[in-house]
């Protein structure tokens, strides 16, 4: 995936900022040994050559700086380039490193990160108590009773529903959504832009499904496999609905 592929149509106006979010792999640099870095990088690429081909990456220098090792940005960027990747951003570096990055035409990105935190103990909520229920942290929310029409459940992390989700109900999660009953309502995963989020359900009859803002309504879903466990994920900005093999 190259960045150019994002701008397919050139209709007027000649220039337009689109606030499309897309994810870029972050490469954490933890050593100053360039040979080792190159070797590890090539091993990783071998695992998924297509995925990494011409992929943009962001270099994170936080670890290497923590260890008080000095490393020249230019050298790392050269290694990356040799492996067929494009360094498009740098973060977690020293002021000097950030300066060097800008001179190389590489952006300095903010050091904030949507952390893929390991799920802590799930928060157990037997019955959905309130119309707009939210967990106060990014822990998993577990619902054990049917979610009825008109109810709305929000999770800052993953959302697991052990019962059905009725037509006219709405479930939202910043992370993944798992529904072990029939999903008849609306399910929106990755609502804060996490394009890696997925929806899993045992019987898909949803009114709407969405991941990171890309959605399908029931008319588009119809004909998709009902009554089989399925997963839904984003691939090249399109929702893919597939049985869980």
């Amino acid at each position: 995936m190259t960045i150019n592929a994002q701008n397919k149509s050139y209709s007027s106006p000649a220039l337009e900022f689109k606030s499309t979010m897309f994810s870029v792999p972050v490469l954490g640099v933890a050593s100053d040994d360039l040979v080792l870095i190159e070797q590890l990088l090539n091993e990783k690429i071998k695992l998924a050559p297509e995925f990494f081909k011409h992929s943009p990456v962001i270099l994170d220098f936080q670890e290497v700086n923590k260890k008080q090792l000095t490393i020249a940005i230019e050298a790392v960027v050269a290694v990356i380039r040799k492996a067929g990747l494009f360094a498009v951003g740098v973060r977690g570096g020293s002021d000097l490193q950030h300066q060097q990055a800008i001179e190389l035409g590489i952006a300095v990105t903010a050091n904030t990160e949507i952390k893929a935190e390991l799920p802590k103990t799930p928060k157990i909520i037997t019955a959905p108590k309130d119309d707009a229920q939210a967990s106060d942290d990014s822990t998993t929310v577990l619902i054990t009773k049917p979610i009825r029409s008109g109810q709305r459940i929000y999770s800052h992390g993953d959302l697991i529903v052990l019962a059905q989700v009725g037509a006219g109900a709405e479930i939202l999660a910043e992370g993944n959504i798992h529904v072990y009953g029939t999903l008849r309502g609306r399910a929106l995963a990755g609502v804060q832009g996490n394009a890696e989020a997925r929806i899993f359900c045992s019987d898909l009859q949803a009114e709407l499904i969405s991941i990171a803002g890309h959605y399908k309504i029931s008319d588009d879903i119809q004909g998709a496999i009902s009554n089989t466990p399925i997963q839904i994920y984003l691939q090249k900005n399109a929702l893919v609905i597939k049985p869980i093999a």
């Binding site: 959905p128 108590k129 119309d131 009773k145 049917p146 009825r148 029409s149 109810q151 059905q164 029939t182």
Partner: protein, 269 residues
Amino acid sequence: MARIIVVTSGKGGVGKTTTSAAISMGLAKKGHKTVVIDFDVGLRNLDLIMGCERRVVYDIINVINEEASLNQALIKDKNCNLLSILPASQTRNKDALTQEGVGKILEELSKEFKYIVCDSPAGIEQGAHLAMYFADDAFIVTNPEVSSVRDSDRILGLLSSKSQRAEKNEEPIKEYLILTRYAPERVKSGEMLSLDDVQDILSLDLLGVIPESKSVLTASNSGNPVILDEKSDAGQAYGDIVARYLGETRPHRFIEGKKGLFRKLFGGG
């Protein structure tokens, strides 16, 4: 302590009042002191079905506004002296029902009665909200059609979020399904949802299935709850429901169609 039962549905005309009248009579006939309250302010008709419309002097709004005492407003049933009726007002605005007022009435009734049956109006407005707010048990009356099932699902959502038990984080309201106006022949021909279709969506404890029956209309025209017509299928079905609610196990009936004479004689099916 009294047990407060709300008979509710969301959708209108599905058989809430018919059911409220039948089960309150059934509970009283089984020896439990019972009161049935009409929450349908402006469209009262529980008193018609109970056959006491001519004895209505005061109503629930008068009691809330302290224009009458509870005892003045309660009407003793003509068939069973363990049963009382608290009628709704036909003339008042439905906003006259207040949560505080209803709470007070229920608290006072709780001292005297074993079961309090609340006949909810259709919809999800104030009247329906107050009928369910204080409930311990909910009888969800549903017809075998998509819109009715959907509305029931909506009501179930409100029961588990907007009731006193939910707000106080107490044990949730116990929810039961009563499937009414069921016609097995029309289920077979695909005109109606089957019990399984309905349960697929609602997954509730089934109290019973009430068949579509002419006896219901006959009963309400005569002002006697259909449960008193022990020969009728609907009357028997309501009898089963009361017995099951009180803890008896009875096999479910009226789910399969009547067997024709040929089948009865030669078996099969």
